[in-house]
């Protein structure tokens, strides 16, 4: 049997690298529903999970898939699902359940062009705001945007680690291009991969309060079958987990749900800077578009434009402080993304008028070539 961590050098698609990252992170439950371009993740999990003591189940739809991974996590497993736009829409309901009940799990969205059925086989980055606000109510979420198969491997592990640490569903917002791209993926030895598991409940079982926060604002978690006799609900609840229909209870719960993310931004947010030190133009990009942006930076520099790239690895929570800091020293922001302006709006907001923000966007179905970025840079 193959081990959970496939140490070695591989030639993997992003989708397969994602599945292998999940296994290396300790994922032992996957519920999913076939959808282009994320199907390969489910296929790979279906073949790999039984051999490492895990379980794969193909559910009747994405609503059920999301419900099942939240349930599995409540029973103690690290769990994941993977989908694309139409399925992501269906998952929004139980994503909210995961947020409200503080259940760790990972949701991968291999983005394709929408709205609706859109372009199933072609990439886009049009679900970035849905990742932020797609489920009803106000909340904070963590979303990562890997740009290569190697990075998908690592970011999927990071997604599990953050999810377990903060007891929140974490979204891996990749795209069709990266998902289907084959590249070299190096998997280190199992002992060199850092994995995090949720802080578990301890102490007197009759006095345990399942939503009483620990030092970092996150409650230790009791899972089903441990004897804590916990109650968990998607209704607004108190520290005991009991429903309380009152504005005070809502305020207290929300303050903590939002606070556990907002108060730990330095631990959560990852960005990567390239030639930004002396840049006049800060390109902000993520996922596949960051690859084009990287090429554009070097070409722009060769043409005498002092460009640099801020690559967002964590897209949500948004790296506001980083943008604000850059706004004080660059002359202009250019956001490059495969939609018609989503993260661009955030960049513009955080730039706060100190530097103008431009968009190099595309409706999806192709990648943005470096030339389009250069053209814009020359125009502004």
């Amino acid at each position: 049997m193959k081990p959970a961590v496939l140490t070695g050098e591989h030639f993997f698609t992003g989708d397969v690298a994602c599945a292998e990252g999940a296994l290396a992170a300790g994922c032992r439950f996957f519920a999913g529903y076939p959808i282009t371009p994320a199907t390969e993740i489910a296929e790979h999990m279906a073949s790999r999970l039984p051999g490492v003591g895990g379980t794969y189940i193909q559910m009747e739809d994405e609503i059920a898939s999301m419900a099942a991974i939240v349930g599995a996590s409540c029973a103690g497993a690290k769990s994941m699902t993977a989908t694309s736009g139409p399925g992501f829409s269906l998952m929004m309901e139980n994503l909210g359940l995961g947020i409200c009940t503080e259940t760790p799990c990972v949701v991968v969205n291999v983005q394709r062009a929408g709205p609706s059925t859109g372009l199933p086989t072609l990439g886009a980055q049009g679900d970035m705001m849905q990742a932020r606000w797609g489920s009803h109510g106000h909340y904070e979420i963590i979303a990562l945007a890997p740009a290569s198969p190697q990075e998908i491997f690592y970011q999927t592990i990071t997604a599990f680690n953050l999810s377990e640490r903060y007891r929140v569903p974490v979204l891996v917002m990749t795209d069709e291009v990266v998902g289907h791209l084959s590249e070299r993926v190096i998997i280190p030895e199992a002992g060199k991969i850092r994995t995090v598991s949720r802080v578990r409940a301890k102490g007197r079982k009759d006095r345990f309060k399942p939503f009483q926060p620990g030092p970092n604002g996150v409650p230790p978690m009791a899972v089903a079958g441990e004897g804590y006799g916990i109650h968990v609900t998607g209704l607004t609840h108190d520290e005991k987990g009991y429903p309380v229909m009152a504005p005070e209870a809502q305020a207290a719960m929300m303050e903590r749900l939002v606070g556990k993310i907002r108060n730990n931004l330095d631990d959560i947010i990852l960005t990567e800077a390239y030639r930004l030190e002396d840049a006049d133009v800060a390109i902000v990009s993520y996922g596949v578009s960051a690859r084009s942006s990287l090429a554009a930076v070097d070409e722009a520099r060769a043409a005498g434009i002092k460009a640099g790239l801020l690559r967002l690895i964590t897209v949500w929570p948004f790296p506001e402080a980083r943008i604000r800091e850059l706004a004080g020293r660059v002359k202009v922001f250019v956001t490059v993304e495969l939609n018609l302006g989503q993260i661009h709006l955030e960049v513009e907001r955080c730039a706060g008028g100190k530097a103008p923000a431009f968009l190099v966007g595309h409706a999806g179905g192709t990648v943005i070539p470096p030339e389009s970025i250069i053209e814009t840079l020359k125009d502004i």
Partner: protein, 281 residues
């Protein structure tokens, strides 16, 4: 005197979150009776309470999860079954009970129900059928009888309701029964029996909803119970396609299906995880 002090306040006190009482159920509602039967069955069946989990969806019956002193999960509308599926597969040692209502399990959650039955996931699903959406004030459901009045069928229900045991049977459930809250002994025994069976067990429990359904259909709670008494006929082993639920023609009760077949977990182990000795590198 000492003995009096230590006497439990309620025979099911050890399984109830007494700090959550009073409950939300209306006077004359049947959910509490179905709930007690479920708790009594948990006790009498000898299930390990530590390993027993209750999952429910949204609605009046869904609130049961909040009153039971076991690990209990009150999920989203219609999604109790897929949530429970994830729990059971992640930890097969758990005894997973789904306790929810007809609107939750068969309208918004209908798709999940048939697939969990088809897969024969080892769950016990108890559906309190009060023929309408009670929590939201008495709207028509997938179980509302033809011509019955509800707030959304003010002229009478134009739709035909599901025959729930037939749906469960056709979908592959390995245990199917129907009782009413008047038949508490049979119901408790049936739930206990369902716990002892592996695979997907389904028990429909008819219960009055005087506030939502009864007052619009000229049935006070006692009249509903009287109808349960007068119109019900117990026919164990009746084919689910031949059973009826009609306040004029009759109500068929009993255990209709009791045939174990391999569960999802057994099939998964057998098919996807063959013994190591058979695996070729």
């Amino acid at each position: 005197m000492e003995k009096l002090k230590t006497r439990p306040e309620h025979p099911l006190e050890d399984l109830l979150r007494t700090d959550r009482i009073p409950h939300i159920w209306c006077s004359g509602c049947g959910i509490g009776t179905a709930f007690s039967s479920c708790l009594m069955a948990v006790k009498s069946s000898g299930l390990d309470p530590v390993k027993t989990v209750v999952v429910s969806g949204i609605g009046c019956s869904g609130r049961a999860a909040g009153y039971i002193k076991l690990d209990s999960y009150h999920t989203t509308h219609g999604r109790a079954i897929p949530f429970a599926t994830g729990m059971k597969l992640a930890n097969p040692d758990l005894n997973v009970i789904v306790f929810s209502g007809d609107g939750d399990l068969f309208a918004i959650g209908g798709n999940h129900f048939i697939h969990a039955a088809r897969r024969n996931i080892d769950l016990t699903v108890i559906c309190v059928n009060n023929l309408n959406y009670g929590m939201t004030g008495g709207q028509a459901a997938a179980t509302t009888p033809r011509r019955a009045k509800t707030t959304t069928s003010p002229m009478g229900n134009p739709e035909t309701p599901f025959n729930l045991p037939l749906l469960a049977y056709a979908s592959g459930a390995s245990y199917v029964a129907r009782w009413t809250i008047l038949h508490t002994r049979d119901l408790t025994k049936s739930i206990e029996e369902a716990f002892s069976r592996s695979g997907f067990s389904f028990i429909e429990v008819l219960a009055p909803c005087p506030t939502g359904y009864g007052r619009r259909n000229k049935q006070n709670p006692l009249q509903t119970l009287k109808l349960y008494q007068e119109k019900s006929v117990t026919r164990h082993g009746a084919h689910p396609s031949e059973i009826i639920l009609d306040f004029d023609r009759g109500i068929t009760l009993g255990k209709f299906v009791d045939q174990e077949r391999p569960t999802f977990t057994e099939c998964y182990e057998d098919t996807c995880r063959p013994p190591l000795s058979l695996v070729k590198e």
